[in-house]
Subunit: 367 residues, 2 copies
C-alpha cells in the first residue's frame, strides 16, 4: 500500500450527493442528521457515504459553529509524573464531554509558553488549561482571556488573571510537614525547588513566580517563624532544574559545616535526585538526613526506606480543571472560582527525630 | 475581569482593514506577509491589528491550505511513564517542525482507539502516530491511511498496514534476558504481561495482538526452546491489567507448588506491582525470586535491591516516530520504513543464580 496517498482526495458532501443521485442539500441533511428525508434517500446517501469513505469535516463545521471541539493544555513537562497524571485526568473528562486535547509543554519557560498559547489560539481552541511557568509574566494569558478564550489555571494560580483555578492545599501541606520536622528536633531544614530567580538567590516568597511553589515556601517559612526560627529564608534553595544542578546544590549543602538535617523536596523529580545523591554518598536516610518529598510518585513507596510524601490529588486536579472548563464552554457565566483540593501527609520511614547537637556531629563525620 | 467574554468577538481582517483605512485585500496582504505594500500602509495595518488584538485564524487558513498543522497521537495510557516519555519525544520534534500535538488515550481498548481515530480524522489532523491496542484489529487504521492520512506506528508494528514503524528490539531483549536466567539455573521463569486473550489463556504468540509484547514472548520462547525447555508457553501469564489483577495472578503463581524462580515483567507498571507484592509477602528479591522488568523507569534504580531492566530508548522512539511523520508530511513518498531501535540490558541486583533444586525447596517453605 502506498503509505502517502495525496491528502486532497477528501470526499465531499457533493461527491456523496452525486453518487446517491440526490441534491447536495439533501445529502447534507442526511449526513448532518437534521431535517427529514425518506428512508430510501437516507439509505442511498448512507450507502454512498460508506462506499466513498466519506468523513465529516469538523474543520468546516468549526468555521460555521465557531467551536473547534478542542481544549488546549499547557503544562511544564509531560515527562514529570505529576503532569502526566494530571493530563490523564484532563483527557478523561475532555473525552467524556466530547472534546479532544491539544497538549503542549512549556518546559517551565515563559517564552515557550507564549509560543504555545499563540499556536493554540491560532488553532481556535475552545478553551485553555494552563500551568503558568511564571506568575509574574502572564500578559499573554490575559490577552488570551480578553480575546474570548475561557481559561482554567492548573496547580498554579494568579492573583491578577481572575479565572477559574484549581490548586492543591500546598501552603498548609508545607506548614504541616515543617512543623513535624521542627517538633522532631530539626532546625536546619532545607527547602529545595526547581524555581529560580535571575541570580539564583532566594530573598522573599514574592520572588517565586510559580504559585504552588510560592505557597509551599510561605508555608515552610510560616511554620519556622511560628517556632521562633529566624533566617530560614537562607535554607530555601532554588535552581534544582536538572539532575546536574540538583547534584551541585545538594552536594554543596551536605558538605557544608552547617549541613541540613532535613530536606523538603518541592517535587518528586527533585526528591528522587536527592535520594540517589544520598545513596551514592553513603548518607543514611533517615539516620543522617530526613527527606520529605512533594508528590506520591510510584518510586517513593518502594525505596529503602520508603519516603514520607505529601500526597497531592493530582489526577483530581486535572479532572476538576477540565470539569470547570467544560462548564464554562457550556455557558456557565458565573464568577471565577478557586478550588483548593486537600493534600495528605503520607508518613513512611524517611523522617527521624534527632537531637540537633547529635545530628550536627554525625553529619560532619559522614560527609 | 469577566472570565467568559463571548467567543464570537474574534477580530477579522475586515475589522483591521476598516481601522487602518485600507482595503480588505491590502490588510490581508500585510497580515499574511505576502505581496508588496508601502511602509506607511504596513505600519497602519500592523498598528490596527495590535490595537484590535487581531489573531490570524489558522482554522480558516487550514480550510484553504488543507493542512491543519496538527499531529494526532493515540497512546495506550499517558500515565504510564513509557508513554509519557515517548510523547515528550513526539512533542519536542513536532514543536520544532511547527506542528502541535493532539493527544488521546486508548486505554489499551480498541473501541476507544477507534473513536479517537475518528475524532482525530474529523479534526483533519495532518498525520497520526499510533500505538495500536490490538494488531489484529486495525481496519480503522487502514481506513485512515486510505483516506490519505499519513501514519507512523509507535512501539507496535503491523504486518498488514505497511506504514512507517518505529519499534524497539524487544524480541532480542527478551531472548537475551531469558538466556541469562537459564544460564543462572532458572527453569521456572514466568513472563507476565497486561495483554490478554478472551479466555485469559495463552496458547500461541499469534494470540497476542500487541506487536511489542508478542515479539517479547516470541523471544522468551525462542530462548527456552533453544535451551531444551519445553512447555514454557504455560509460564506466559496474561491479564495483568490492573494492580488487583496483577496481585491475583502473582499471588497464585507464588503460592503454587511449582512457583516460578524468576519473573519477567513486560512493563514497569507490572514490574512495580510485582516488587510491591514480594515486599508485602516477605519474599526476598533476588534470594527467593529473581525479577527483571522492561523499561528503565525511575523507581527501578532506587529500590533495594535495584532492579535489572531492559532499557528501551523510549524518548527516541517518540522522537523518531515524529521525525518520520514530519518527513512524510514534507512530501517524502518513499517506501514505508521499519526502524528498530536497540535496547540495553541494565544489570542491577534483582537477579541471582541459584541451583534449581535448592530454589524449589526455598520457595515452598517461604510461601
Amino acid at each position: 500500500m502506498d503509505p502517502t496517498p495525496p491528502r486532497n482526495n477528501a470526499v465531499t458532501v457533493a461527491d456523496v450527493a452525486r453518487m446517491a443521485g440526490v441534491s447536495k442539500a439533501t445529502a447534507a441533511r442526511v449526513l448532518g442528521g437534521y431535517g427529514t428525508v425518506s428512508d430510501r434517500v437516507r439509505e442511498a446517501v448512507t450507502l454512498a457515504a460508506r462506499n466513498l469513505n466519506y468523513r465529516p469535516n469538523e474543520l468546516a463545521r468549526s468555521m460555521t459553529t465557531g467551536r473547534s471541539g478542542t481544549i488546549g493544555v499547557v503544562v511544564g513537562d509531560i515527562e514529570n509524573p505529576f503532569f502526566s497524571l494530571a493530563v490523564r485526568g484532563i483527557t478523561d473528562i475532555a473525552r467524556q464531554a466530547g472534546f479532544t486535547v491539544i497538549l503542549t509543554n512549556s518546559g517551565e519557560n515563559t517564552e515557550t509558553e507564549k509560543a504555545a498559547i499563540r499556536a493554540l489560539l491560532a488553532k481556535r481552541v475552545d478553551g485553555l488549561i494552563v500551568s503558568p511557568a511564571m506568575e509574574s509574566d502572564v500578559d499573554h494569558l490575559e490577552e488570551a482571556i480578553r480575546s474570548g478564550c475561557p481559561m482554567v489555571l492548573l496547580d498554579r494560580g494568579s492573583r491578577t488573571l481572575g479565572v477559574d483555578t484549581v490548586v492543591a492545599d500546598d501552603g498548609h501541606a508545607a506548614e504541616d510537614i515543617t512543623r513535624r520536622l521542627i517538633a522532631g528536633g530539626h532546625r536546619r531544614i532545607a527547602y529545595l525547588t526547581a524555581c529560580d530567580t535571575p541570580d539564583h538567590r532566594f530573598r522573599l516568597p514574592s520572588d517565586i513566580s510559580t504559585g504552588s511553589v510560592r505557597r509551599r515556601i510561605e508555608g515552610f517559612l510560616r511554620a519556622c517563624h511560628e517556632a521562633g526560627l529566624s533566617g530560614m529564608e537562607d535554607w530555601v534553595r532554588l535552581g534544582a532544574l536538572t539532575p546536574a544542578e540538583t547534584q551541585r546544590i545538594v552536594t554543596a549543602m551536605l558538605t557544608d559545616k552547617h549541613a541540613p538535617t532535613a530536606i523538603i523536596a518541592s517535587d518528586s523529580v527533585i526528591g528522587l535526585d536527592v535520594f540517589k545523591i544520598c545513596r551514592d554518598r553513603g548518607i543514611d536516610i533517615p539516620r543522617d538526613l530526613s527527606l520529605v518529598s512533594f508528590h506520591d510518585a510510584d518510586w517513593t513507596s518502594v525505596t529503602t526506606p520508603p519516603v514520607t510524601v505529601v500526597r497531592q490529588p493530582v489526577y483530581q486536579l486535572g479532572e476538576k480543571a477540565a470539569k470547570l472548563l467544560v462548564e464554562r464552554l457550556n455557558g456557565n457565566g458565573g464568577p471565577a472560582s478557586r478550588v483548593v483540593l486537600k493534600t495528605e501527609l503520607v508518613e513512611r520511614a524517611s523522617v527521624a527525630d534527632i537531637p540537633a547537637e547529635q545530628m550536627s556531629e554525625a553529619r560532619q563525620e559522614k560527609v
